[in-house]
Symmetry: C2
Subunit: 504 residues, 2 copies
C-alpha cells in the first residue's frame, strides 16, 4: 500500500466517521423526542430532524465521495476486512444515490402525510380514508423497487434492505414450515388449561419494577457506563455514539411483565450493539448486520433466556424480595408458567412467543400480495380479517386492531417491514443451540444468574463482527448451518409440551 | 420592496432559521451531556459537538451568505427591525468569519477535552493536571481576541461578546463603586447576630423539593409545555428550539434552599427566553440580548422576588404543607431571614446576595490579569487564594473550592465569563424599580403569589424584544436610565439594614 493509498483510505474512514456521528446526532434527536421533548416542541424538532437528514444525505451522496469509493474499489491491495467495508459503503452509496432527488422528496413528504392521516384515521376506525394513502404508498414502493431492477421481485428488494442477501423465496419457505407447525401447536396449547396469571396484574410500584429490570439487564452484561434506560411510549434501542447505546422501556403499575420483558428485549438489542468490535465503529460495518440477526438477540435474551425455567430459578427469590406482599402466594413455578401464557389475540405487540409468528406471517403474506398485485389496497381490510381467521382463529371487531393496527405501513412504504421479527425468532434458536453446544452446562449458569459464558460466546461469534459478514455467512460461521427452522421448532415443542402437558 | 428583494429576504430568513436549528441541535448535545450522557460516552460526544460546530460554522461563514448580507445592507427599503436583524447578522458573520475553520474546530474540541478532564481533576484536587489545559485555553482565547484588533484590550473583546457595547473601563468603574459599598456592608452585617438557619438543613425528600420548586416556577409563568426541568451537576438554562427552553437544577436532601433557589434562578432565564416575540425566533434577534440582561432576570426572580418578604407571605404556608414535620417549629419570618443569611464563604454559587458580587469581582480581576499576562496560569491557584483573603477574608482549604471551583474556565476559553453576573444584579434592581413604578401595588401581588403584572411588564419591556435593541438601549427604553448602581445599592441597603438592624 502506497502512502497516497493510505491517505485515500484515511479520507474514507474520516468520511465514514462523520456519517456515523451525524447518524448518532440524529439518534439523539429521536431519542429525546421519544423520552423528554416538551409537548409543544414537536414541530421544531421535526424541522431539526429534516435538516439533519438533509445534511447527512448530502454527505452520503457527495459525488466526490462516490469517486473515492470507485477509486478504492479498483485497488488490489485491500484486506478482506477493507474489501467488505468498501462493499457495504458502495451498497449504501448506491442506495442513497439511485433515487432521483424529486422521488426521495415526494416519497418522504407522502410518508409524513400518510403517518399524520393514520394517527387520526386509526382511532376513527376509518380504513377507507387510508386507502388512497396506501395506494400511493404502494405505487411509490413499486417505483422505488423499479430503480433496482437487479432484484426481479420487488419483495426481494425490500427484504434485502433489512436482511441483506435473503429472498422472498427463502423467507416464504421458512414461513410455510413455521405456519404448518405452529397452527396445530397453538390449537393444542390453547385447548389445555391456562396457567394462573392473576398475580402479574397486582400493583407493583414503578420505581421498584425499573430497578429490578435494570439489575437483570446489568447481570446480562449491558454496560450502563455506555448506556442507560429511560421511559418512553414505544420501547426501542438506539445507538447515539460509539460508546452510547441506550434502551427505553415502559412500565405499567398493574402489569409486572410489561416493563421487565420490554427491558430484556431491548437489552438484547443493546448487547449486540455494545459488543461490536471497536475497530468497526465509525465504519460502514459498525452496527448490527440485519433486522433478523438483531431481532434474534432481543428475542434470545427476552425469551430463550428470560422466560426460561433456569432464569426464574435465579431470579424469583430476588423478585419476591422486591415485591414480598404481591408475591406472597406465588411459587417459582407459577411465575415461570405465567410469563409463558399462550392465548390467541389480536395485537401483534402483545402476543406471546407461540402465536407471535402467526401475526408476522399474516402481515408478510399481505405485503407480498399487495406488491405482486394479487391483492388490491381497497380489499386489504377484508383480507386482513380473513387471514386472521385462518391463521389465528380470531377476528378483530373493527379495523382499528385490523389493517390499521401497526404503524409500519403508514410511513409511506410497503414491503419488508415485518419478516425480520420472525427471522429473528428462528435465528435466536440457532444461535442459542450453537452456544449451548459449545458451552456444556450453560443452563446451569443461567440458573445461577451467570450469563458470562453465553454473553461471551455471542459477543465472539455474533456481536463483535458487526456487519463484517452478510447475515447468512455470519450464521454459518457461528452455527455451521444455513437458515433452518429445526432448532426453533425443537425449542418450542420441548418448552410448550412440558409447560402445558401436551404432545405435538 | 420588489419581489426579487422579497425573495432575497426570504432566503436570508431561511438561512437564519437553519442556523438557529443547528444551534438548537448543538444545545441538545450539550443538555444531554450535562443530564443523561453515560459516563463512558464523553469522547464520542465531544467529537459530535465538534462536527456540529463545524457544520454550523460552515453555514455561518458561507461566502454566498456573506454576499447576501452585503446586498441586503445596500438596500434602502428595510424597516428598522430588518435593519437591526441585518446589523446583528453582519456582526455575527464578522465574528464567525475572522476565525479560520481549523481554529474553531480545535477550540471546540479542546473545550470538550478540558471539560472532561476537569470533571475528574476537580474531585481529585488536581489543579496541576489542569494547568496545561488552562494554558492552552488562555493561548486560544488570546488568539481569538487577536483576530479582533479593533478591541485594543482582549478583555474588551470578550466583554463585548457577551455584553454588547460594554467595555472593561465601564465594568471596572461599576465594580469599583460596588466593591467600595459592599465591603463595609458585609463587615456590618456579618458583625450582627446571624439568623436561625438550622431548619434549612433537615431532611427534605428530593421529589417533594422538586415538586415545590416546579410549582413556584409554574406560578412565575414558566410554560412546561415548552420546557422541562431535569437534574444536573451545575444548573443551567438552555434553548433547544423555538418552543423548547429547558432548565436544570440540583437537589440536596439536607439543604432546602439549594434546589428551590436554583430552580427560581433558572426559571428567570427561561422566562426571558420563552418571552421572546415569536416573529424574532429563528432570526439573529431570537434570544436574550446579553449576559448581563439575562442574569438580571435570573436574579430578579431568584432574589428580588424569591427572597422577598411578600414571596414568603405567599409561599410559607404551602411549603409547610409540603414539609409539615420539618417546619413545625418555624415561622414565616424565620424562613424569610434564613434565606437571606449573609456569611463570608468560599463558593460563589452558594454565596448570599450581599457577598456574591465580591466572588464575581475576584474572578473578573483574575481573568483580566491572565489575559494581560500579569498572572501566569501556574500561579492562578495561589493568586485565587490571595484574592479571596483580600476581598472576602476567607481561604479555601484546597483548590477544589479554589481555582477549580467554577466550570467556566474549563470549557476552553478564558475571559468575559463572569462580569455578566454582577452586571445582572445591578440591572435586576433597575428593571424591578421600573416595573414597580409602572405597577403600583406590585408587592401586594407577590404577597398573593400573583406574578402576572410583573411578568407581563417584563415580557413587554424586556423579553419580547429579544436582541432587537442593544443592552443599553433596551435599558433606557425600559427604565429611562443608563447603567447605574444606585437602585441596586438602595435595594441592598434597605433590605439588609431592616433584616439585620444595622445602618450603612
Amino acid at each position: 500500500m502506497t502512502s497516497t493509498q493510505d491517505t485515500a483510505w484515511t479520507d474514507l474512514q474520516r468520511h465514514w466517521q462523520e456519517l456515523a456521528d451525524l447518524g448518532g446526532i440524529g439518534s439523539l434527536l429521536g431519542w429525546d423526542q421519544s423520552t423528554y421533548l416538551p409537548s409543544g416542541a414537536a414541530a421544531g424538532r421535526s424541522r431539526q430532524q429534516a435538516l439533519l437528514s438533509r445534511l447527512r444525505h448530502e454527505r452520503a451522496t457527495d459525488p466526490g465521495y462516490g469517486r473515492q469509493l470507485e477509486a478504492a474499489a479498483a485497488r488490489d491491495d485491500l484486506s478482506p476486512l477493507q474489501t467488505r467495508m468498501l462493499a457495504v459503503a458502495r451498497k449504501n452509496f448506491e442506495e442513497a444515490t439511485r433515487f432521483p432527488a424529486e422521488f426521495v422528496s415526494a416519497w418522504s413528504q407522502h410518508g409524513g402525510e400518510s403517518y399524520s392521516a393514520w394517527t387520526t384515521a386509526r382511532p376513527a376506525n376509518d380504513f377507507a380514508r387510508m386507502v388512497p394513502y396506501l395506494e400511493k404508498s404502494l405505487d411509490l414502493s413499486l417505483q422505488a423497487a423499479s430503480y433496482f431492477p437487479e432484484f426481479g421481485d420487488p419483495m426481494d428488494y425490500f427484504i434485502d434492505q433489512s436482511d441483506e442477501g435473503m429472498t422472498a423465496a427463502q423467507v416464504g419457505d421458512v414461513f410455510a414450515q413455521l405456519r404448518a407447525a405452529l397452527v396445530p401447536m397453538v390449537e393444542a396449547v390453547t385447548a389445555a388449561p391456562a396457567p394462573r396469571t392473576d398475580f402479574l396484574f397486582r400493583a407493583y410500584p414503578v420505581q421498584a419494577q425499573l430497578s429490578f429490570g435494570e439489575a437483570v439487564s446489568r447481570d446480562y452484561g449491558y454496560d450502563f457506563t455506555r448506556g442507560r434506560q429511560d421511559l418512553t411510549h414505544h420501547p426501542f434501542m438506539t445507538r447515539l455514539g460509539s460508546a452510547d447505546v441506550r434502551i427505553t422501556t415502559r412500565v405499567k403499575e398493574h402489569d409486572l411483565g410489561e416493563a421487565l420483558y420490554s427491558t430484556l428485549h431491548e437489552t438484547g438489542h443493546a448487547l449486540y450493539e455494545q459488543g461490536v468490535s471497536e475497530d468497526l465503529l465509525g465504519t460502514p460495518l459498525g452496527g448490527g448486520v440485519s433486522a433478523g440477526v438483531h431481532e434474534s438477540q432481543s428475542r434470545l435474551w427476552e425469551n430463550l433466556v428470560g422466560r426460561s425455567r433456569p432464569f426464574w430459578a435465579a431470579y424469583f427469590g430476588r423478585l419476591r424480595d422486591a415485591f414480598p406482599e404481591q408475591l406472597s402466594d406465588v411459587t417459582e413455578d407459577e411465575m415461570h408458567r405465567a410469563v409463558n401464557t399462550v392465548a390467541r389475540s389480536l395485537i401483534r405487540t402483545d402476543a406471546d412467543e407461540l402465536t407471535y409468528n402467526l401475526h408476522v406471517i399474516t402481515r408478510y403474506d399481505l405485503e407480498r400480495d399487495l406488491l405482486s398485485g394479487r391483492l388490491a389496497v381497497r380489499d386489504l381490510a377484508d383480507a386482513w380479517h380473513a387471514a386472521y381467521e385462518t391463521n389465528l382463529g380470531q377476528r378483530a371487531p373493527s379495523d382499528v386492531d385490523g389493517a390499521l393496527q401497526d404503524v409500519h405501513w403508514y410511513f409511506g412504504s410497503i414491503g419488508g417491514a415485518f419478516q425480520g421479527y420472525t427471522l429473528g425468532n428462528v435465528l435466536s434458536a440457532q444461535f442459542y443451540a450453537a452456544a449451548e453446544a459449545a458451552n456444556p452446562g450453560l443452563e446451569a449458569d443461567i440458573g445461577r444468574g451467570d450469563f458470562a459464558r453465553l454473553h461471551g460466546w455471542l459477543r465472539e461469534h455474533v456481536y463483535a463482527h458487526g456487519r463484517r459478514f452478510p447475515p447468512t455467512e455470519l450464521l454459518s460461521r457461528a452455527t455451521g448451518q444455513g437458515l433452518t427452522v429445526a432448532p426453533y421448532l425443537k425449542y418450542l415443542r420441548e418448552k410448550y409440551s412440558a409447560l402445558y402437558g401436551v404432545t405435538f
